[in-house]
Symmetry: C2
DNA sequence: CTTTGTGCAAAGCGTTTGCACTATT
DNA sequence: AATAGTGCAAACGCTTTGCACAAAG
């Protein structure tokens, strides 16, 4: 990579080697003497076709119904772990279960989490990163990352709750 | 940060009814027609004797060794749940296990989490709350709370890692 | 042909639950 | 006496593992 110019205002895209998640995963596998299998390939293809949060069960179900048929539960778990190691996915825990989302090629962000419908809304804030780094600095703490989840009720769900003729949760 | 409004600087202490965690828990139990038992009393006494993060196993072990003998696992779990309902403890999840800390009478805060020694360092930032509220506002999201965990390596652990003659993790 | 990956079944781990017995009210 | 709580053992839900067979290099 040749950054010969004087100004530092370069776009990431021009610097990065253009590589798809699949290519990157292949590099990762090769670097560890692991193998590209049909299952791994199909999972990567499927996961990076959409940008959504999902858990292991979602993925198992979706693999079953779409692209080429079932992948076993252990293989799904193992592959998700590798995709995290490879830096392609990030894992977080919500309500005690692991939830995954794209990491590679996707800007870092935080989440609003609706406790009613379980949805996640992404947002980014440079200020939070600045505060994070300042706080850590003050404690001589070496930051590797952070996770901020703002919990509450999303617009849609609070609207639904306000509707007069909604289904009542009475005994 | 725009705390531009007129002077809202009142102290919480002067407003609250002076009551200990135990008193508050008793009120909570009465309001729900639940009973104050020996086990519950001993757990509350023990938990509020120190300000530390702990999980169910910690508590079970500590109850065993100290104050009055063993409390069963199910009772510990049940009581922790009630203390959370009562607003005395907050629960968070770290490495897939539930961790508790004081809530009642303790200012809200966020955490630096050392991935090496598992310790939590507390800090408070009004700015984060302001950002949280601004982000939520923009999405018409009704906030009930947030959780920010900054992960990394604490000062002590990075010092340890830098020491030349440290115990090596070799095979 | 060697080595890694897969799928099955079974185990693991933290947490919760059904139930007979005990304690609180 | 009536009712809620305890402790045991067993179940739970998500995730991981041991192992024989299949597939990739």
């Amino acid at each position: 990579m040749s950054l010969t110019s004087t100004d530092h205002d370069f776009s990431l895209e021009s610097v990065e080697v253009a590589s798809t998640p699949m290519q990157r995963f292949e590099e990762y596998l090769q670097s560890r003497a692991k193998r590209m299998t049909q299952q791994r390939r199909r999972i990567v293809e499927h996961v990076f076709q959409q940008h959504a949060h999902f858990d292991a069960d979602d993925l198992i179900d979706q693999m079953q119904k779409t692209a080429g048929g079932k992948v076993s539960r252990p293989t799904v778990y193992r592959t998700l772990g590798e995709l995290v190691d490879a830096g392609l996915l990030v894992k977080m825990t919500l309500r005690g279960r692991a939830v995954y989302e794209h990491d590679y090629g996707y800007p870092s962000h935080d989440h609003l989490y609706c406790m009613k419908c379980d949805s996640l809304i992404e947002f980014h804030s440079k200020e939070i990163e600045a505060i994070r780094d300042a706080v850590a600095e003050a404690q001589n703490f070496r930051v590797t990352g952070h996770r901020l989840i703002i919990s509450g009720i999303c617009e849609e769900c609070s609207r639904a709750a306000r509707r007069p003729n909604r289904r009542l949760d009475l005994i």
